[in-house]
Symmetry: C2
């Protein structure tokens, strides 16, 4: 029988483990909240399954337990900050909060972050903007896994971007996407299960399209949407990486390799005050109507109805808050593993 986990117990567990590894209380709480938010949205690849790697990196010192967001350059609406190799999810939350504060003052806030680490599900920081009735944008570069359009070898990261739009009564629009065709984790999962992958996801080590996930892991992911997705991935590395002074794709340390070496990631967070252009109520009601219009379009073949970006994840959150989160077995195994390693109690499902 499927077991479900209370969000609070996952959050408590992750915070406990991170504090055990040396994280400051406030950082541990922010990271645990961000991880749990991902599981609540059903994005388990970015949920509490990540607790163990953050713990390991904290113990190795490549995530700095004392790292904090230090302002390098303050240009009013724009701030460049150095994360000092701190916990990426906590840094992302603080950087977005800073962008929100700047947008409250100036109408727009742009915060670049360098020397950071894996910052989790990007929807989460943008949800902080939406809660303040602002438009939020978050992007991050990542280690090289994706072949740019026209190339046969990897250079770009899966460089994700999230954009969130506040609403009046409807769930917020939250677009959160990697710029690779699929997440790296889906290829790892196919390899683990002995399944093939669809053509178009990846190329092998010689740059040939492959349906063998093992070959794909030796090769490169492909960008989503061909040249267009590749172009977006590349722009994100420029904005979040080169502009902030972070490392870019090929220089970034992968999360699960060289655990004693800092990752050197870069992020960019933007907040727009809706009220810089128009009244908040009028805007959010226009967005609500737009959402309802699109939702009521006749569905395409193979679809039961039209969903807005982030809507399925929102519906999951409501269900999971009420009934608990159905964690996949590999996630349960991973959190039991780290619990055993550090000698704390793993969360108990029911």
């Amino acid at each position: 029988m499927e077991r479900r986990y209370a969000a609070g117990s996952l959050q408590h567990f992750a915070a406990h483990a991170l504090r055990w590894a040396g994280a400051r209380g406030e950082d541990a709480n922010l990271v645990a909240e961000g991880l749990t938010a991902a599981d609540l949205r059903g994005v388990h690849s970015h949920g509490v399954v990540r607790t163990r790697i953050y713990v390991l990196r904290l113990k190795h010192g490549s995530i700095n337990a004392n790292g904090s967001l230090r302002v390098v350059h303050d240009a009013g609406p724009l701030v460049l900050a150095d994360a000092g190799d701190g916990l990426g999810i906590a840094m992302a939350a603080r950087a977005m909060d800073m962008a929100i504060q700047r947008a409250q003052l100036h109408g727009v806030g742009v915060v670049g972050v360098r020397n950071s680490s894996h910052c989790g599900m990007l929807a989460w920081p943008t949800m902080r903007a939406v809660r303040m009735k602002m438009i939020g944008i978050a992007m991050s570069n990542a280690d090289a896994k994706v072949a740019p359009w026209g190339a046969r070898t990897k250079y770009l990261g899966t460089n994700p971007i999230a954009i969130a739009i506040p609403t009046a009564h409807e769930p917020p629009i939250i677009l959160d996407m990697a710029t690779s065709f699929v997440a790296h984790g889906r290829i790892v999962a196919a390899a683990t299960r002995g399944e093939t992958i669809p053509a178009g996801w990846a190329v092998d080590g010689d740059g040939r399209m492959t349906t063998d996930p093992h070959q794909a892991l030796q090769g490169a992911l492909l960008p989503f949407g061909g040249a267009k997705g590749s172009g977006l991935a590349l722009i994100i590395d420029v904005l979040a990486g080169l502009w902030t002074g972070a490392l870019s794709g090929p220089m970034i340390t992968p999360l699960y390799q060289q655990l004693d070496r800092a990752q050197g990631l870069g992020h960019l967070f933007v907040a727009f005050s809706v009220e810089a252009f128009t009244d908040l109520e009028g805007f959010t009601e226009r967005v609500d109507r737009f959402i309802r219009d699109i939702r009521s379009l006749p569905p395409a073949e193979g679809h039961t109805r039209v969903y807005l970006p982030g809507e399925i994840e929102h519906l999951r959150t409501i269900e999971y808050q009420e009934r608990g989160i159905p964690l996949p077995p590999d996630v349960v195994a991973e959190i039991q593993r780290v619990a055993g390693e550090i000698g704390i109690a793993a969360p108990v499902g029911s």
Copy 2:
């Protein structure tokens, strides 16, 4: 034998025709420059072929010859402007220039535009930012032609976005893309030539995938990259349309229909000052190295080498400036047609 046209003669012609139709000299010149810039990049769908429709709309009054960019709300780094149904390309240039000025003062400039008309190739305003060594972003909504992901009928526009990055010695990176899988014009062209279209471009009036361009024109385009491209298209309508107070997709008048009715389009322009975060020289040299790294990756099957976004268009511009622009026959026919209608000399190729 192929005929080529000097960029200057096309620009002169377009400006002449627009002035004939009542446009003010400065507006006519800006629009003619924007159109010619598109032909110079080989983007003939957005070049002087558009002269005739702008002339017709000026004569019908649905493009207002006296329309100019009026500031509605000035929030420092952010400005909301009303284009008064003026010539979209001229409005885009002025709005981007305003974003650049604000970015010079504040580090970032964001200019929203409502009540505008078709604003041409979006790469062009972003090139104005790049010339000032700034990062430029432009987006526009458009009339409903695209079915959102999961829907069988059209609602969103082809909602394009362009992002341009300044460089030291390399050509600037200029990503300019519609969020539809292909431009509407390619389906019109296939229909004209009696060709089929690949599966994945469009659905018919019943929402079924079609390879018949005539059926596709009764139906809807599909977004690029599935749910991700659809999400981007939708976000662009929110930012450029709903936020600015412009019309959104289904309410916008298509460029070639109801010529006596204003289009009501919205745009958003963003300029970032590179120097808000870092020194310009260091940044542009990092971008140059990034470009050279990517360009020298081994090419994928079917590619001779890797091109950066906007690089092919840049190479065309250099060639076309030297040897003239090889206009496609349908473009030549269209400019000869409008020349005949209004009694001015058409450009002469050689």
